[in-house]
């Protein structure tokens, strides 16, 4: 498809908007390629995106989305797996730190926070894809979205403390089992999603901590080390992902 950068941006945003609205992936690709075909022809005749969509991108995207059914089955398949991934992640972290105890509040609170975060993220992507937003504002909104689950998780922990809800404790045997189950989950998700992310992320987050735990350094030194090394690993990982994406873009 040979279209101008404005058209490509519009098509890319449309795809994100429809994905975040939970539409069928096949139908999304269909409409995006159909509009791409239209834009290509229109540009040859000297028209541009604004001539085509008429209204604001937001209105136009909303109109298209309104005519497309919600992919409930896809969502139902995707959601539990995402949830399992998130819980394996929490489980592994807690097992490594030896804090395997959960109360009823945790068991209800964590999924609730998770669902809310997912919903907020989808809303954020829709908003971002359908509006022209200055970089600074994007940053602020993103900060709020990122801070919400963290503060909600802290809220759950405090509520838990305050209510003193009875918690189920797990012994050392359960710790090994928890780590093993989490590992299996990560591998399963990696195969299911055909991507390494679900394996790389836990490595980046947990491996330095585990390794540091094996050393003979003082507790304070250990803490300092993990506080500096973990963000460093995350940074390196994100940078390399970015670089790979850029390379892919160039070659395509």
């Amino acid at each position: 498809m040979k279209v101008s950068s404005e058209s490509r941006e519009f098509l890319e945003n449309l795809r994100v908007y429809l994905l975040a609205s939970g539409k069928y992936e096949g139908e999304i690709e269909e409409i995006v390629s159909e509009l791409g075909d239209h834009l290509e022809n229109a540009e040859k005749d000297g028209k541009d995106v604004t001539d085509i969509i008429g209204k604001t991108p937001k209105e136009y995207m909303g109109q298209l989305a309104g005519e497309m059914p919600f992919d409930l089955k896809g969502g139902l398949k995707f959601l539990p797996i995402l949830m399992l991934g998130a819980f394996s992640y929490i489980l592994m972290g807690d097992a490594i730190r030896g804090q395997l105890q959960y109360s009823l509040i945790d068991l209800i609170g964590y999924p609730a926070v998770f669902l809310m975060t997912l919903f907020l993220t989808a809303l954020f992507y829709k908003y971002l894809a359908s509006n022209k937003i200055p970089k600074l504002k994007q940053f602020i909104v993103f900060g709020i979205i990122a801070a919400t689950p963290i503060s909600l998780f802290i809220g759950v922990i405090y509520l838990d403390d305050w209510l003193g809800a009875p918690a189920i404790h797990f012994g050392p045997a359960a710790k090994g089992a928890a780590i093993f189950i989490s590992l299996l989950m990560f591998i399963f998700i990696a195969i299911w999603s055909k991507s390494w992310v679900s394996i790389i992320l836990p490595i980046v987050f947990f491996l330095p901590e585990v390794l540091i735990g094996f050393t003979d350094y003082q507790e304070n030194t250990k803490l300092m080390l993990s506080v500096t090394i973990v963000p460093l690993c995350i940074g390196i990982y994100l940078l390399s992902v970015l670089r790979m994406e850029k390379k892919k873009e160039k070659s395509s």
């Binding site: 498809m1 269909e30 409409i31 159909e34 509009l35 075909d37 239209h38 022809n41 008429g54 005519e67």
Partner: protein, 110 residues
């Protein structure tokens, strides 16, 4: 009913008529619309309509490879239900346009 909704209904009828002339794709439809003077609607507004018409079973769509070997293009054709809907639209339109024309011309009723 807002004026844009009325326009949508009319545009849908016109699309049915264009597609009834033979298999066609989005850009060709807008070219025909423009040729008939439909400049009050933006070209993109046919796509939400086409999505709905397909959902309602008035049209079917197939992806076809272009002879030039480029990306696939989506071609629409009318279903039987679409043909019926087109006839309905023609009747409705005839009735509406006749009365509106009479009214605007101020024909004497008696």
């Amino acid at each position: 009913m807002s004026s844009s909704q009325m326009l949508k209904g009319i545009l849908e009828g016109c699309l049915l008529s264009i597609i009834s002339k033979g298999e066609t794709y989005g850009y060709e439809m807008t070219e025909k619309l423009n040729a008939y003077g439909f400049t009050m609607v933006s070209e993109g507004s046919i796509y939400p309509l086409l999505l709905r018409m397909k959902k309602e079973g008035l049209v079917t769509a197939v992806q076809k490879e272009l002879p030039s070997g480029g990306p696939k293009r989506k071609y629409y054709s009318l279903t039987e239900k679409g043909e019926e809907e087109l006839e309905n639209f023609k009747d409705r339109w005839k009735a509406i346009s006749t009365s509106v024309n009479h009214l605007l011309k101020g024909d004497d009723l008696r």
